[in-house]
């Protein structure tokens, strides 16, 4: 079932519901609400129809052969038309399907009573193009005809019998398509198989095929008697509904900047390990940055419309109404749709939480699925790095690099490494790899990764209830050995209609994960407390990783090598952190509509998590296989203990809302919403460790000696109280107005500053609805809307939970050999601190051309964050004692434009979509109330702009040195330019670039294409970015290497400048000033990436039906297949620590989707 059809069914239910309460034209009343009395005893069937037609304003369509000679024998007294038809159906074996004004009569299959109806109010029924046609005097399907016309036509001679099948683009028959002979009321509709039969007057008759969710087609009959018609999906004829905060809105009536992503098989078939990565390239203005490929940590960072604040600038994630859900712990297959709220008006119902935009996620339900389905999707992917370091697995050569480096400042006799050592290693390395290893570390510590995804779901529903249940498993083996992550998800969504006007439901999601890793970032750890965090640069080739014969892990062996050289293998085997986490997220609601249009609803949600991490490192020491003795480096001591850390906590949410919608004077739709909300967080942490495990195989705290142990623990809570209001007003379906506000009170602030008020207004104009414009636009412009919004949002993310409270910190001391209590005052509280406010102006233009084959959405925005909540600038005479109080300090502006252009069409059986989106954002720091030193933050510049020395290349001769400003250089060194001409090279010689950012690109673009032909489909996603530059300086391309234990790569071998290698790409080894951040090392981090290629094949349904399946699709997919960039480092998408060596994943996957 396509999503349009699903939405259609949903609408159908909705409108049927509405009909019951309103006084509508008869054509729009349900047959169950049309009452009549008729004595049909001994009346011919056709006469009975005439009587009904007279009484109800409906008409019948039938094949006369069917009704001829049938007689009725019943008397109806004030029965509903539905009852009457059911009775007739029982009596005559005919089926009745009422579609608006027309009741179609057919032979009932299996002689069962069959009456059904489909009512679509006129307003919905007549989309733009149909209304236009009416103006041109063309007949319109489903329009009421006078009864006189009816009877006239009924007896007309119908000469030609035409039959055929109406199919969708997938070749499957569509039931319920209406076929009307143009200019007449003669018509029929397709049966369940999509088959139809109709008699038309002559060969020039034109048949009009129309169906809900499809473009209306007109076909001339001609000489044919069989007519197979393929219906094309009408993209916009159905009013697409978009999930917004606390409700849904019709897309055409939206005034905010909202991008919706429907999670379909194109996304779920990708070898993705989390939801955030999957959003890359799908939403204009949403920057999705993949920082690492580390299993368990390879979620992408999400930033909407540029860096909105220098505090936490991540968007709020709301899942099924519950804020603060970890988007990366969701099962992609459970998600129905994702809405990205980008501007103030769409986000302001989330007020203080939404300054950086909101990502709203709605999970699936079984609503409207009369037939329950079971679905399985599974895929298996192999992953390899997008790029990796070029390590030189040749120890003697690496030692000669040390010699070359030592030559810069040392006498030959003072070199650490002697020629003999090198020669010996070169010779014996070929015959004795245990004692003279040339270890290729990256080969040892890396592997081909794998990603498995398996999902099984079932869903279904009826009038009263619906359900969706699913279980999912994601198992990822990282590129690094022992870096594994697996996640299991279970979901149960259930809705139940207690009374026609009371609904309740529950959504439960549980997930748990197992994670193991060696270092925080995989190969590195940039936490300062880990002094070995960047030891990867010391992983020399001259160490044997492990000898299975003796069971020892190798250490250094060469004479004069630094005993602290690094064996990463032992670390990745023996020093693992293991972490498992469980979450249970539940949400329940009850809504009640006591009177028409008014709904009261209560939601209560509880999210609980528990996370447990443990380490129990395995004792081992470095071993010297040459001397057969232990080296001095103890990788893990014999007193290895065990440590545990538990994080646990919960969050609760209580929402009460009242909403009212009504239509006044037919053309004025008003929606009002009020919400009261409370959120509460509670988190707790506990840590325990003991030294001396009783035995290395044991791993719990009790299995260790008690002499040395340590513990820690704390907890914190936070509350947020909010009042929310929203008003939507739509006049004549073309003038749109929306106003929102939210008041938030946070426990993070002190009384008096706790509450923030965040209002917004928006307006829109669907100018293509204007009759005075339609003559000009209707031919080419199907849909056009201008919208504008302005409003405020808040942020308190920079403030700690108790930061504003005047408290003393513990600072204990030792007296008489015992620990004693001590307190210090570290706080200087700014009592006036309050919310950081972001105001957003958004101007948007939505256009649909050529019957919506081309749709465009263009948005311009201006986001101004004021009162950025920052630690204030404090005198050095205080910062040694006090944490700087936070103050509302600076203003940051983001201006940008984003566009989305989609072309959808079919060409024969080829259906294709080409979608291009792009966004540009300029960040500017506009105001800063305090001193700003020289650096990469300054007024009227982007935050973290490029501020760099300029280089004049590598000095080749002493003459070059002489001609340059003195800077202690020698030939082979990078020369920096003396930009201010003061004869010195100082920080003043750096140049600022207002258009270039160091941390993130300014421009993002993506091209998403999909082609389908018969059962085959191909999807290609390109994604790229530009506007970011950064230095390529990390521990692996170091040229100032120490005198021992540097793990040289081929770069150090090939690139350094020397008299013999004057064209060397790098300056000389161990020169001077060569690691400065100058343009020499500056790289443009622009890139274009083939993010995803996917090929799928859906087995034809005809075949499947025979084996009882409804859907089988097999697919192959590849992520990050190719990257085009000038960046010399690991990956242009990576951010954070430059020496983080975990590559991004390139994956190749195969998968299968089966539906029953």
């Amino acid at each position: 079932m396509t999503r349009y059809a699903m939405i259609g069914v949903f609408f159908q239910c909705l409108f049927v519901g509405l009909l019951t309460a309103a006084t509508l034209k008869a054509q729009e009343k349900s047959i169950e609400n049309i009452y009549l009395s008729a004595d049909l005893r001994n009346v011919g069937l056709e006469d009975a129809f005439v009587k009904i037609v007279e009484m109800t304003d409906l008409n019948f369509q039938y094949d006369q052969k069917l009704v001829a000679s049938k007689k009725l024998n019943q008397n109806f007294r004030n029965e509903s038309l539905g009852q009457v038809l059911r009775a007739i159906s029982r009596e005559t074996g005919l089926s009745f399907r009422r579609i608006n004004e027309t009741i179609y009569v057919a032979q009932s299959a299996g002689k069962k009573e069959m009456v059904s109806e489909l009512v679509i109010p006129t307003k919905t029924l007549l989309p733009v193009q149909l209304a236009a046609r009416e103006n041109q005097g063309l007949p319109v399907p489903f329009r009421a005809r006078t009864i006189s016309e009816q009877t006239e036509n009924k007896f007309q001679l119908l000469a030609i019998a035409v039959s055929g099948k109406v199919t969708g683009e997938d070749g499957v028959g569509i039931p319920g398509v209406s076929i009307v002979e143009k200019g007449t009321t003669n018509g029929t509709n397709t049966d369940v198989e999509g088959q139809f039969q109709i008699n038309v007057t002559n060969q020039s008759s034109v048949l009009v095929f129309s169906g809900i969710g499809y473009l209306t087609q007109e076909v001339e009959v001609g000489a044919r008697t069989t007519l197979d018609v393929s219906m094309k999906t009408d993209i916009k004829s159905l009013e697409e509904v978009v999930v917004v905060g606390y409700g849904t809105q019709k897309k055409v009536n939206m005034t905010g900047a909202v991008s919706a992503v429907n999670i379909d098989e194109k996304i779920t078939s990708r070898a993705l390990t989390n939801v955030s990565s999957g959003l890359s390239g799908l939403v204009p203005g949403l920057a999705v940055t993949q920082g690492t490929g580390m299993a368990g940590r390879n979620n992408a960072s999400l930033i909407i419309r540029g860096l909105g604040t220098v505090n936490n600038a991540s968007p709020l994630v709301v899942v099924d109404g519950m804020p603060d859900v970890d988007i990366n712990r969701l099962n992609m297959n459970d998600i129905e749709s994702i809405s990205v709220l980008k501007d103030a008006t769409s986000a302001s119902v989330y007020g203080s939480r939404a300054a950086n935009g909101v990502i709203l996620i709605t999970t699936k339900s079984g609503r409207g699925q009369e037939k329950a389905t079971i679905n399985y999707t599974g895929s298996y992917a192999v992953t390899t790095p997008t790029r990796a370091y070029d390590f030189m697995a040749d120890y003697p050569r690496a030692l000669t690099i040390h010699q070359r480096a030592a030559a810069v400042n040392n006498l030959r006799s003072n070199y650490f490494f002697k020629d003999g050592t090198i020669d010996q290693w070169m010779a014996l390395g070929m015959i004795d790899p245990l004692r003279y290893p040339n270890t290729d570390w990256w080969d040892i510590i890396m592997r081909n990764g794998a990603i498995q995804n398996h999902n099984l779901s079932a869903s279904g529903g009826g009038d009263k209830s619906n359900f969706f249940i699913s279980v999912g498993m994601m198992d990822e083996k990282g590129l690094q050995i022992n870096n594994d992550y697996s996640r299991y998800n279970a979901r149960f969504n259930y809705d139940y209609k207690i009374r026609p006007n009371i609904n309740t439901g529950v959504k439960f999601q549980g997930n748990w994960s197992n994670f193991s890793y060696a270092l925080e970032d995989g190969f590195t750890d940039d936490n300062g407390s880990n002094t070995a965090g960047f030891d990867m640069q010391y992983a020399i080739a001259g160490i044997t990783p492990y000898d299975p014969v003796t069971g020892y892990y190798g250490g250094v062996m060469a004479y004069n090598e630094d005993p602290q050289a690094y064996n990463p293998y032992t670390l990745y085997i023996n020093n693992l952190t293991r972490r498992n986490r469980q979450e249970a997220n539940t949400m329940m609601y009850l809504d009640w509509s006591p009177i028409k249009g008014l709904t009261a609803r209560v939601d209560y949600g509880l999210n609980y998590y528990n996370q447990f991490s443990w380490n129990a490192n395995m004792p081992n020491r470095s071993y010297n296989f040459q001397t057969n003795s232990f080296g001095s480096r103890v990788y893990v001591g014999d007193n290895a203990g065990v440590s545990n850390a538990t994080n646990t906590g919960y969050k609760t949410l209580l929402n009460g809302r009242l909403s009212y919608n009504t239509t006044i004077a037919q053309n004025h739709e008003i929606n009002v919403l009020g919400v009261y909300s409370e959120e509460f967080w509670s988190d707790r942490y506990q840590f325990t460790s003991r030294n001396d495990r009783l035995h290395p195989t044991l791993r719990e705290v009790d299995a260790a000696l008690t002499d040395i142990q340590s513990t820690g623990g704390n907890s914190s809570t936070e509350g947020l109280r909010s009042f929310i209001g929203r008003l939507n007003y739509t006049a004549f379906d073309k003038y749109l107005f929306e106003a929102n506000f939210r008041v938030d009170g946070s426990s993070k602030f002190l009384p008096g500053s706790q509450y923030g008020f965040f209002p917004s207004v928006a307006t829109g104009w669907r100018f293509t609805e204007e009759s005075f414009l339609q003559p000009y636009t209707s031919r080419w412009l199907t849909n056009g809307k201008i919208r504008a919004s302005y409003g405020a949002l808040g942020n308190n993310s920079g403030v700690g939970r108790y930061q504003q409270q005047e408290t003393l910190a513990a600072s204990n001391y030792m007296l008489g050999g015992s620990i004693v209590k001590g307190f210090v005052n570290e706080k200087m509280v700014n009592r006036d601190l309050s919310w950081e406010t972001t105001t957003v102006f958004n101007l948007g233009l939505d256009l649909g051309f050529l019957n919506n084959r081309l749709t465009t959405e263009i948005d311009f925005y201006d986001r101004l964050t004021t009162g950025m909540n920052r630690p204030s600038d404090m005198s050095i005479h205080l910062t040694g004692a006090y944490d700087a109080p936070r103050r509302n300090i600076g203003n940051l502006r983001n201006r940008g434009i984003e566009g989305n252009f989609t072309w959808r069409d079919t060409y024969g059986e080829l259906k294709y979509i080409v979608s291009l989106n792009a966004s540009y954002n300029a960040t500017k720091l506009e105001k800063w109330n305090e001193f700003l030193g020289k650096g990469w933050v300054f007024l009227n510049m982007p935050y973290h702009f490029l501020y760099t020395y300029e280089d004049a290349g590598i000095a080749q001769t002493w003459e070059d040195i002489f001609n340059a400003t003195p800077q202690g250089a020698s030939p082979g060194d990078i020369l920096r330019k003396d930009l201010n001409g003061d004869g010195r090279i100082t920080g003043e010689d750096r140049k600022a670039y207002p258009g270039i950012q160091r941390d993130r690109p300014t421009t993002l673009f993506a091209l998403n294409t999909n082609f389908s032909w018969r059962g085959f489909d191909v999807g290609i996603l390109f994604q790229g970015a530009t506007g970011r530059k950064d230095y390529w300086l990390n521990i692996y391309n170091n040229i100032n290497i120490g005198n021992q234990r540097y793990a040289s790569g081929w770069g150090q071998w090939n690139n350094p400048w020397s008299v013999e290698n004057r064209d060397g790409a790098w300056p000389r080894l161990n020169g001077s000033g060569n690691r400065e951040e100058s343009t020499f090392w500056l790289d443009d981090l622009s890139y274009v990436r083939l993010k995803n290629v996917q090929l799928g094949y859906a087995v034809p349904k005809v075949l499947l039906r025979k084996i009882g399946l409804s859907n089988v699709r097999i697919f192959a997919s590849s992520e990050n297949l190719a990257t085009f960039t000038k960046f010399r480092g690991l990956d242009p998408e990576k951010d954070g620590n430059r020496s983080d060596a975990y590559p991004l994943n390139k994956s190749y996957s195969l998968g299968l989707n089966i539906g029953i």
């Binding site: 009460g656 409370e678 509350g719 620990i819 600038d873």
Partner: protein
């Protein structure tokens, strides 16, 4: 219609219920911290004053307890780096990023400056609040409260003393600061004025502190007095030798004499009035044969936790061992990988060896001859630096302080001893057989002189490299003896009591008393005192401060534009050369430190020291 009314009623009831639910959690926006003490609950009792004082102690401790790094500013200790953890004050952040070479360091102590002022604010907090308590305190608690103020003022005085001895004029903040605006445009206070305030602090402390500390770790009268003496000694030095880099300071000979006299008087009281003695009565103790370390001289134990609480330790900052998070990292800084993976950031330079005199002659021995051990006979040649016999019969403090080739220490891994570890320069972590016993040699990547420190290295296992519980001395009696000798010598030349005190120090090294020619005049005796300061206080952070206040950099390293001086190793290789062809400016920048320019950017009232303009 009735139906409708009913519905409206019930919806109102529902709305009412909602609001009721909300008001049930009235305190939603008032969440109380669970691990931090609310300030309003504090300053109620005398115990609170003690807790605040203890907080001040733990905040001032990290400003002084790694002073050994400062030894790198002298010529006998190399501080190639530090184990200080960035952004962790208790783990040495104040010292983090400092430059501890003999030259070029003056602009690397912005962080230290910042944390010194942290100490000022911490102590001000105690002083001001306890003073408030004092106003209403019962007579019975007055004494204790005043002692608390006294200790806080002692600590504050020490901090300001450190500030002026590095930067000269510094802003003086004597009260609790409640808002940045109070100090945002603060100017430097003339050093003389700051000195007077410090004197007042030390004097108050001297008056109010008990004669003996109630518990090891808290200060008593001798500490206040010794620091007051030391302040005057420094003040006298600056006045006598001048401090031209501090342009606002005008030296005065009379001021100098008065200060020397004041210093001598204070030191005399410390020495005589409190019954203080040198550790183990200043006896040299036992010494083991070369290459053995079962028995070590008393001086060695003075720098192990055995000496915690000893009367010689006039002022110390305490540390706790495992599990207290208050450990010192001396072992990590002074020893090698064979000792719990230590890093040998601080090592003796080759040049210290010749400073250790003969226990037989009491005088300097013939200088060692550096030799490459690959040279035939290098291990046996007399006076060869790599011949262990060359180190026989030396000042006991040599064996206690440094290790040369074949000297042993207790190796330790994972809190377990690994047996004796012989140190052999450049033969690291190698199996070796000495007298038929197999050993694995000492392993380090830290020394480039041929020596490592024994001083501060524990000779037993059981504590990690960051879990030391040694109380680091910032004032010890031996220092007071030598400062007393210096002060009295400056006024009147060698005095008998001063000579006796220096000889007491020498006796600890099992050295005979000074020769007559060593006490023949002011200069000779000054040299003898300096010699004892070098040997006795090695690695305790004094040398750089001494050289500066004596204006002795040129004497030690050579005049401006000279060849400077090489530091070498026992194998004869040149290691580093300092002050080669250095301009006067380079010397000036070593005599005075740079006022943090980041603060000057914010605060134009804060002037800069001339060499740093």
């Amino acid at each position: 219609m009735k139906n409708l009314t009913q519905k409206i009623l019930s919806i109102s009831a529902l709305a009412g219920l909602l609001i009721c639910t909300s008001s049930c959690v009235e305190d939603l926006l008032e969440q109380e911290p669970t691990t931090e003490l609310g300030a309003n609950a504090f300053w109620k009792t005398e115990a609170d004053a003690t807790f605040a004082l203890q907080g001040a102690y733990s905040s001032v401790r990290p400003l002084f307890d790694r002073d050994y790094y400062f030894s790198g500013h002298g010529e006998f200790i190399r501080t190639r780096g530090t184990s200080a953890t960035n952004n962790n004050l208790q783990r040495g952040d104040a010292y983090h990023g400092g430059d501890y070479n003999p030259v070029g360091y003056g602009d690397n102590f912005d962080k230290y400056y910042r944390y010194l002022y942290g100490g000022v604010n911490r102590t001000n907090y105690v002083i001001e609040n306890v003073n408030k308590m004092l106003a209403t305190a019962s007579p019975s608690s007055r004494e204790n409260l005043e002692a608390i103020i006294g200790e806080a003022r002692l600590l504050r005085g020490m901090v300001y003393f450190r500030l002026i001895s590095m930067w000269g004029d510094v802003p003086y903040i004597g009260q609790v600061v409640y808002d940045n605006a109070e100090v945002a445009d603060i100017a430097r206070t003339p050093m003389a004025q700051v000195k007077d305030s410090i004197m007042a602090d030390f004097t108050y402390a001297y008056e109010k502190l008990p004669v003996k500390a109630p518990v090891v770790g808290r200060a008593a009268k001798p500490a206040a007095l010794a620091f007051r003496g030391k302040l005057q000694l420094y003040w006298a030095s600056w006045n006598r030798f001048g401090w031209p880099e501090l342009t606002t300071f005008k030296p005065s000979a009379t001021e100098a004499d008065a200060a020397y006299a004041g210093a001598a008087e204070d030191f005399r009281k410390v020495i005589n009035d409190f019954g203080l003695t040198l550790y183990r009565n200043g006896e040299p103790g036992e010494i083991d044969a070369l290459g053995q370390a079962e028995k070590l001289p008393n001086y060695y134990y003075l720098f192990t936790p055995l000496a915690n609480g000893d009367p010689e330790m006039i002022m110390t900052f305490t540390h706790g061992g495992i599990g207290t998070n208050q450990g010192e990292e001396l072992m990590r800084d002074v020893s090698g990988r064979s000792h719990e993976g230590s890093q040998a950031w601080v090592t003796p330079r080759y040049e210290i060896a010749d400073r250790y005199q003969s226990t037989i002659t009491g005088d300097f021995v013939e200088p060692l001859v550096p030799m490459n051990p690959a040279t035939a006979g290098a291990r046996t040649k007399p006076n060869s630096a790599v011949n262990p016999q060359s180190y026989a019969n030396r000042d006991y403090r040599m064996k206690s302080s440094i290790m040369w080739d074949y000297e042993k220490s207790v190796g330790m891994i994972s809190l377990q001893p690994t047996g004796w570890v012989p140190f052999i320069y450049k033969t690291y972590n190698q199996p070796i057989t000495i007298d038929g016993v197999k050993y694995t040699t000492y392993n380090t990547d830290g020394t480039n002189s041929g020596y490592v420190l024994r001083k501060f290295l524990r000779n037993y296992a059981g504590q990690g490299r960051s879990d030391g519980n040694y109380n680091f001395p910032v004032m010890r009696l031996a220092d007071v003896f030598l400062m007393y000798a210096e002060a009295t010598n400056a006024i009147n030349g060698p005095q008998a009591d001063a000579i006796a005190l220096v000889n007491k120090i020498r006796h600890r090294g099992n050295l005979p008393p000074l020769d007559p020619e060593d006490v023949a005049g002011k200069d000779a005796f000054f040299d003898a005192i300096e010699q004892e300061r070098i040997v006795e206080l090695l690695g305790e952070g004094h040398r750089g401060f001494d050289l500066r206040r004596w204006r002795a950099l040129e004497r030690v390293w050579g005049a401006p534009y000279s060849d400077g001086k090489w530091r070498i190793d026992t194998h004869g290789a040149n290691q580093q050369r300092y002050f080669q062809n250095s301009s006067e400016r380079i010397y000036e920048q070593a005599y005075i430190f740079r006022i943090p320019p980041g603060e000057r950017d914010r605060n134009p009232n804060l002037t800069q020291n001339t060499p740093w303009l």
